[in-house]
Amino acid sequence: MERRTAVALSATAHAGVLLWAVVAGWLPPTPEEDSISVAEVSVISAAEFDALVSVAPQDVPTEVPAPAAPEVPTPPQESAPPPAPTEDAPPIQAPAPLAPAPNAPEAAPDTAQLVPPPRTEVAPETPEAPTTPADAPDAPVSDRPAPRPAPRIAAQPAPAPPPATETAPVAEAPPAPSDVPDPVAPAEEVAAPEEAAAAIAREDETPSAAPERSVRPGRKPAPPARAVAEVDEAREPAEETPAPVAPRQIDTSDALAAALGAPAPTPPAPSGPPLTQGERDGLRVAVSRCWNLGSLSTEAMRTRVTIFMQVNQDGTPVTNSIRLIRSEGGSNAAANQAYEAGRRAIIRCGADGFDLPPEKYEQWKEIEMTFDPEQMRSR
């Protein structure tokens, strides 16, 4: 405590001394300088005085900015330009052709007036800011409040969370009424609310609940569709397109109803949107990996063949359906060799099924694949 008081007293005493020195020393020097200058003027003659007066405006500015320049290396550069444009404005205006528009006359005066003040003020602040962040808030607090709104906002939302948690229990009621109004079959209504209620209750108790997972995959009928497709391979020949789709609809609807507790009529038709370019590229790359031209004749390497094939729902090509549709650029023998190479590629890389979206089966159940060796000939 004693040390603190001593420091405080010492600091106040020093501050007082310094303040006194500043106040006391401020007045004497200025009058001294003025007096000195006045004494010199009194000695000079009128003619000389006139001559000095004519030169005075030039000397005065040189004396004043001189001390300012050494203070900071950067400021003088910035402070220098401001006067420069104002004084050099006429020579800069010389390239008038560049600014024949009305902007030219306005730009000169505006810059002369606006530039000097901000630059002189900014120059000293910038060096202070990096040195100590504490100083920065003091001086430019009012000028740079940009980052501050964030913490203030963060403090305000704090009270908001409580209401959110309070609304949570209230939200339990809406799910039930949302399911109730649905005009679904009675059997499904019973199942739906039970699972929904159970899920909600278990969510509070245990983080992982079975119904949760069943709900998510329910939105994508793809996985069950594949399983159904594999089982129903035998039905394909008899029922070309709709047959394999029907069982998939039933299964997915049941799964969705059981999971969501609501009748979610999924699109029954297997036809989906056309393949994306990425999906087409995926198929192209898959076949390219097995398209071996190494054993082809030079003539077959100049032959372009188009091969048709049917594809099972599991992505495997129907081998018996693979056939040559057309060929260009070679003899029949060469076309046959090129066809065989393409056929091998399809069968080999399609053995495990091409990675195609099951929901778009209608789009790729039949494929025409053209094998063009043009680029490969140069390799």
């Binding site: 949107p273 056309p274 393949l275 994306t276 370019q277 990425g278 087409r280 198929l283 192209r284 076949v287 390219s288 990996r289 097995c290 398209w291 071996n292 031209l293 190494g294 054993s295 082809l296 004749s297 030079t298 003539e299 077959a300 048709f308 081998t319 023998a333 060469a334 046959n336 060799q337 065989e340 393409g342 056929r343 091998r344 590629a345 069968i347 080999r348 053995a351 789009q363 790729w364 039949e366 494929i367 025409e368 694949m369 053209t370 094998f371 063009d372 060796p373 043009e374 680029q375 490969m376 390799r379």
Partner: protein, 443 residues
């Protein structure tokens, strides 16, 4: 900033286009494949089934030759027998597709060998496309003598090769060449003939005189070459079966060389120096009548007929440096077809008629190259200290040539290269060899 925003916009549009469904399709999905792989096709050839005890060894030998023929093309890769899962105990047994697929055998060759009581050999074979689970072509059967078992193996390999690649066969063929022995400054040269794979080498001439540039007749029964029996280079014809020789041409010349048969075998075109000028001549082998084809003050040599016999490609230095020209078989000025840098020589017309192989010397290196008959699409297949004298395989897919190594110990050797420039291989010869000429397919 504007550029940055523009780039973001373009990227977003591109990403949207990639993810967006393609235009609605009408009919089947249409995909174009432009990229593939160029790899040797893996095949399996289990040892041919020996149908009797006498066929045990020869079945093994035939199987090995078949595998070597296909593998040496660079277009096929044999799957070692110890990797085979399925065992073929009978020629007519059912193919276990899954076992062959498991080892990625895309082609399967099965066969059997029977040695009959009179010593004749019966070889049967079948070729299968494993992943298609189907037989490629019909099964074939060859019958021959025991000393011709290699030819039967070549026949089987030829059939498999042609069915898979679509190229013509060439394994069952022979090559005539100049066998060289002795030091480099005193080489002894003899004409020799061998199977395309270096087996069954036979010498046709002694080393008493120099022999150069032997060429098979279209039927493979005669060889025409430049012999020095008289002390001067003269065109000579040799009967392969009887080894009887006959010097051709009764021209009052000092030298005749670089002969080659016409496609029908009734004529021969060659170079002859008359009064200090070298031109091309056509000799009727039946009548002995000779016709002068060129009459330029320059040197015309190395003529080669087109397969249809209507044109001749040759080498001439009429432009100041050796270049290639094509003229009618009846003679004439000819049209220059080579315009690249360097010197071109020894042109040989492809059996298919669409390309010309040649020797090119440029920037201190020799190359074997091919170009279309109009001089376009020139491609250099090799490059070395000294490569020269190309000759085509009967199917026009492979080129054989002479490569000589540098230095005092350097010696010529025969090499083959695929017309694509891949699969450069040295041909097996018992000694140094040069000037190869690939004969026709054997009957």
């Amino acid at each position: 900033m504007r550029q940055f925003l523009t780039a973001i916009w373009i990227a977003a549009v591109a990403a949207l286009g990639l993810a967006a469904p393609s235009a609605a399709q009408d009919g089947p999905l249409r995909i174009t494949i432009t990229d593939g792989v160029i790899e040797p096709l893996p095949f399996a050839v289990p040892t041919f089934v020996a149908r009797n005890a006498a066929a045990q060894d020869i079945a093994q030998d035939i199987t090995r030759v078949i595998a070597a023929d296909l593998s040496n093309t660079g277009l096929f890769r044999e799957i070692p027998q110890d990797a085979h899962i399925a065992r073929v105990s009978s020629f007519d047994s059912t193919v276990q597709w899954s076992d062959w697929k498991a080892i990625n055998a895309q082609a399967l060759i099965t066969g059997s060998v029977l040695v009959e009581g009179d010593g004749r050999i019966v070889v049967q074979f079948r070729l299968f496309d494993v992943f298609s689970e189907a037989q490629l072509g019909d099964g074939l059967q060859f019958v021959g003598t025991s000393d011709g078992w290699r030819r039967m193996a070549h026949k089987v390999a030829d059939a498999a090769y042609s069915r898979i690649t679509g190229e013509g066969p060439y394994f069952d063929s022979r090559v005539v060449f100049v066998s060289e022995t002795g030091p480099k400054n005193a080489r002894q040269k003899r004409l020799a003939i061998m199977d395309y794979d270096g087996a069954n080498v036979q010498y046709l001439t002694s080393s008493d005189s120099i022999v150069l540039a032997p060429r098979f007749s279209p039927d493979g029964r005669r060889i025409i070459y430049t012999g020095y029996e008289s002390g001067f280079p003269r065109v000579t014809v040799l009967d392969v079966a009887t080894l009887q020789r006959r010097t051709l041409g009764d021209l009052n010349t000092n030298m005749s060389f670089a002969p080659r048969f016409s496609p029908d075998g009734s004529r021969a075109v060659y170079s002859a120096e008359v009064a200090g000028n070298t031109d091309l001549y056509l000799l009727d082998l039946n009548t002995g009548a000779s016709t002068r084809l060129t009459s330029a003050p320059s040197i015309e040599t190395a003529p080669s007929f087109s397969p249809d016999g209507s044109r001749i490609v040759f080498e001439s230095d009429r432009s100041g440096a050796p270049q290639l020209y094509i003229m009618s078989a009846g003679g004439g000025e000819g049209n220059r077809i080579s315009f690249g840098e360097g010197r071109y020589g020894t042109p040989v017309w492809s059996p298919r008629g669409d390309q010309i192989a040649f020797t090119k010397q440029n920037a201190g290196r020799f190359h074997i190259g091919v170009m279309r008959i109009d001089g376009s699409e020139e491609r250099l297949l090799t490059g070395a200290f000294l490569d020269e004298g190309p000759t085509w395989a009967p199917n026009g897919r492979v080129v054989m040539f002479t490569r000589e190594s540098p230095g005092a110990q350097g010696a010529p050797a025969l090499y083959t290269v695929d017309v694509t420039g891949r699969n450069l291989q040295r041909a097996a010869t018992p000694a140094a060899a040069s000037d190869p000429n690939w004969g026709p397919l054997l009957d």
